[in-house]
Amino acid sequence: MLMLAVTNLFPESEEKVGVSVTETVDWLVSVAEKRDRYAFERLYDHFAPRIKSYMIRQGADEASADDLAQETMVQIWRKAHHYDPQKAAVTTWIFRVARNLQIDRLRKHRLHEVELTAEAEHKDQGYGSHERFEKRPDEDKLRSLIGGLPEEQMEVVRLAFFEGLSHSEVSCRLSIPIGTVKSRMRLAFDKLRMGMGEEI
């Protein structure tokens, strides 16, 4: 009885535990390869409410956040074949789709980004092999590293990722020097990369 009550109080945390990294990969690959509607609905159930949450944080009202979350899901359906499970986690790939749509629709500009194509990898010969290929970072490890970051570092990271604030805007919001904003970001990123075993 008690267990049931707890489950009802925190439905989202139950649901989060219920979706594994491998499952999301299988779903997205199945959408790409088989146009699998069932798999897409699983992705929708899990991600659409999170994308909506992201859009609200970026300044969208309720109705536009719904619309942008749906539009992101339409793009996921239509771009699923771009996803390469060797290179990125599903969450990373979906984050990029949502972010780019948000920049396009809410900020009315573009974010230029270089996709790593096979030819580009070929041209990169001469670099260390650990840098030549992008490899999918270990999400579980990344999650626990993020959990271990000091709150003052997470605060600047969240303001950048969720509210789209530039360094100088974060500096104004928190009334701290811009140099402090940047050094907190550096410390956070450095700790994550060290934890992920980067030779940088």
Binding site: E12, E15, E41, Y44, A48, P49, R50, S53, Q70, V74, R78, K79, A80, K87, A89, T91, T92, W93, I94, F95, R96, A98, R99, N100, Q102, K108, H109, R110, L111, H112, E113, V114, E115, A120, E121, D124, Y127, R132, E134, P137, E139, L142, R143, I146, V157, A160, F161, G164, S166, H167, S168, E169, K182, S183, M185, R186, F189, R193, M196, I200
Partner: protein, 218 residues
Amino acid sequence: MMINHHPDDATILAYAAGSVTEGFSLVLAAHMENCPHCRRRMAEANALGGELLSELQPVAMSVNGTEDIWSRIDKASDAEIPEPTIPESVDGVPGILTPYLPGGIDQLPWRSLMPGIRQYVLNGVESGRGSVRLLSIAPGTTIPHHTHLGSELTLVLKGAYTDEIGRFQSGDLADLDDTVDHQPVVVDNEPCICLIATDDRLRFSGVFSRMLQPLIGI
């Protein structure tokens, strides 16, 4: 291409967060086209974004069920969206810049700014209060001492310059903010062509340079 100067970690995070100007993203993408080291860093910063997204408190969609999304998908073209492709790099200039440089770098309608310095402004690239421009600087020319109100990203496309930080050549990216007061000097025998994005106005330090500022419009 041996690249020695890269964007700051804080810049990479801001780029992945999507909180930079379009102009900054263009310069960063142009650098990364030739820099696997920074593409790797970007992949990690994007992975951080993905984790943050998945940890957000979900907000229920206004419409229950998936009927709506299917009707939306069926209304949209079911055609798969092709992967964006980047044009071939021409003569060492990153391919992502090709659409902005009609006819190639030698055919641009350069405008003279001051003796030894010519510029070409890339229009239609969102840059806040700043800009994106190419500067072509003759050998031996010195850019007047200046600092930046916001940040400045400079990517060297051809030639080389040195300043208080070091030597910058093709592929190198200088990531500067208002703490840096620098005076770049073009070295070697060829002009140095740089792609420069600012997100605010430059601030020249000397009295003479300050008088020039309205004329140059940087």
